[in-house]
């Protein structure tokens, strides 16, 4: 409940900002302390645990590449991949590809978010808007967005525009579904309280509806970003060149054409790293909002 949790804010603010220390907002986490006896592994800090796992996986990877006589034309060792990553980033090829991909994704997501905002606003205010949203999402959400790429190319040509349209389509529907679900599940009591103290129109949306629906909005954005990210890489792979120099998917594809297998892996690692970075950003946002307000358990 926004009003009651707001009072807990100052207490949680100090600890919630930086490290993933246990907050005061979640009583069940206090149970955790006595339960950690036994496993040494569980008592290690999160960062250390995950780093150790990562090192182990990379070590296995290197061991497999060194010990088996797998052809370097089909499989690359981590050392070669690290070299390709380093060369790719210092020469600017990978950086250029990454920036281009993120730019197209950013524009596509921006348009998708705007479309989702308009659709859900209409759906919340009018019955016909709700019908339109339900119909559109049930038709278009199950459709893998990459499937409309051939049409988009036909309509917008072999340009960045075609990609942006495909991305926008990929992100609009998951965001719209989640946001409208968030609005519809707002506790009616809170809404009534808001109305009772004289909030209406935009202020009711800003101060009551949006904060109450924020967990759904964030999970909508997360899903939308994941859909968009997958779609753009897939689209670039199919598309060949995304206008200009080509993005990450194109970098992978081009490397594959010239049998530069370490570069293919380097492109994949870059995609994974960006995924991790974005996940981290979302976690930060959640920690500062819905976790602090006690609407979601910390991760």
């Amino acid at each position: 409940m926004p009003s009651s949790s707001r009072t807990a804010e100052p207490a949680a603010a100090g600890s919630g900002a930086g490290t993933p220390t246990p907050g005061t907002t979640l009583p069940q986490r206090d149970v955790k302390a006595p339960a950690t006896r036994g496993s040494y592994w569980a008592r290690l800090p999160v960062v250390l645990r995950r780093t150790l796992l990562l090192v182990g996986i990379v070590a296995l990877w290197q061991a497999y590449a060194t010990l088996s006589d797998v052809s370097p034309l089909v499989f690359s060792a981590p050392l070669d991949v690290a070299r390709a990553l380093f060369e790719g980033w210092t020469s600017g090829d990978l950086a250029r590809a990454t920036v281009l991909t993120l730019k197209i994704l950013g524009i596509g997501m921006g348009i998708g978010m705007l479309a989702a905002a308009i659709l859900t606003t209409l759906a919340t205010w009018t019955r016909i808007g709700e019908d339109v949203l339900v119909l559109l999402t049930s038709m278009l959400n199950p459709l893998p967005s990459i499937a409309i790429l051939p049409l988009a190319i036909l309509w917008f040509g072999l340009s960045e525009m075609a990609l942006i349209v495909v991305i926008a389509n990929a992100v609009t529907w998951p965001i719209a579904i989640n946001v409208s679900m968030g609005f519809r599940t707002v506790n009616p009591t809170i809404l009534a309280v808001g109305r009772n103290i004289g909030l209406r129109g935009w202020r009711l949306v800003r101060d009551v509806l949006l904060p109450a629906a924020l967990p759904h909005i964030i999970s909508g954005l997360k899903t939308g970003w994941a859909f968009g990210w997958r779609t753009i890489i897939a689209a670039e792979l199919v598309f060949g060149v995304a206008g200009g120099g080509g993005g990450l998917g194109n970098y992978i594809n081009k490397s594959r054409y010239f049998l530069e297998i370490p570069e293919v892996f380097a492109g994949l690692v870059t995609i994974a790293l960006i995924g991790i970075a974005l996940e981290w950003v979302f976690t930060l946002v959640e920690r500062r909002t819905v976790v602090r307000w006690g609407m979601k358990a910390a991760t």
Binding site: I57, L60, V70, L158
Partner: protein, 339 residues
Amino acid sequence: MSREPRKGKRLRRLPAVALALVLALTVAACGEDGAGGGGGGEEATKISIAYQPGIGYAPLLLAKQEKWLEQGLPGVQIEWRQLDSGAAIRDGILSGDIQVGSGGLGPFLVGWAKGIDWKIISTMENMDLWLMAKDEKYQTLEDFKDGGKIAMPAPDSIQAVVLRRAAENELGDATALDENIVSLGHPDGLQALLSGQLAGHLTSPPFEFQEQDKGARQVITSYDAFGGPHTFNSVFMREGFHDSNPKAADLLAKSIARGVAMLRDEPKKAAAILSEESGGANSAKEFEDYITNEAVEYTTEPNGFVKIAQFMKEIELIEKAPEDWKELVFDNLAQGNGS
């Protein structure tokens, strides 16, 4: 991500992690087996032959339609697969899925320079590859500097080499038009050019002929770029497969030669078979026009290998080029003429 409140769950995750690792390694190991699958010591019971769209593959298509290989190799299952680019065929051969590949010199040489142990068992023809444009704006290569897209099967295809050769000849810079390249299979490229989505299409017969019929015109030709006729498509396989399947390799070379002879000497008969093979998509008359066009000369004689390979090395598409064309071919072909 979330912290488990109870330790029982935490312990149960361990076997799952172990299982995932075992699975990953198994998958990787399978890939390795597949990659070696081109070699093998035994005679194959199934041979997968890959080709691409276009009449550059006509000798193979004749063998396919007339079942020359099936008849000569009883007990061996022959599978014919049409793929859209040489790179796709190369991936198939590397993964062990495809035993016999065919296509332009580009993808073959990229693989050869990277150390794939493959060689050419037969070439199929000399062909003049044209850059076609429809919009009046594009009269010479210079006009493409505005960024107009040029489609071709792949950035490593022989068409990409032709474009760079021409760019160096006419614009003084081999990479001048690299940003213009779009990867599209020939049939898709034809549609895209005619519907106005492309500035140019660097393709092969019969697509360039069809585009010409629909109002497109030549901007450059590969014979001009390389100063004379050159081989377009070859048929290749890994040495391990060649050595353990001598009978199949020999019959394949002979079937291609038989197809080439029919295309040269009995174009009417060959055209009728090709039309049948296409399921009637093109008439026998159309095929006859295509295969007798002067841009097409069916021959098993390698032509221009060294010239093309050395240019590819010069512009750093590949790291090494052969000194002699005989390094690229099996003995049966090396005994004849070539360049």
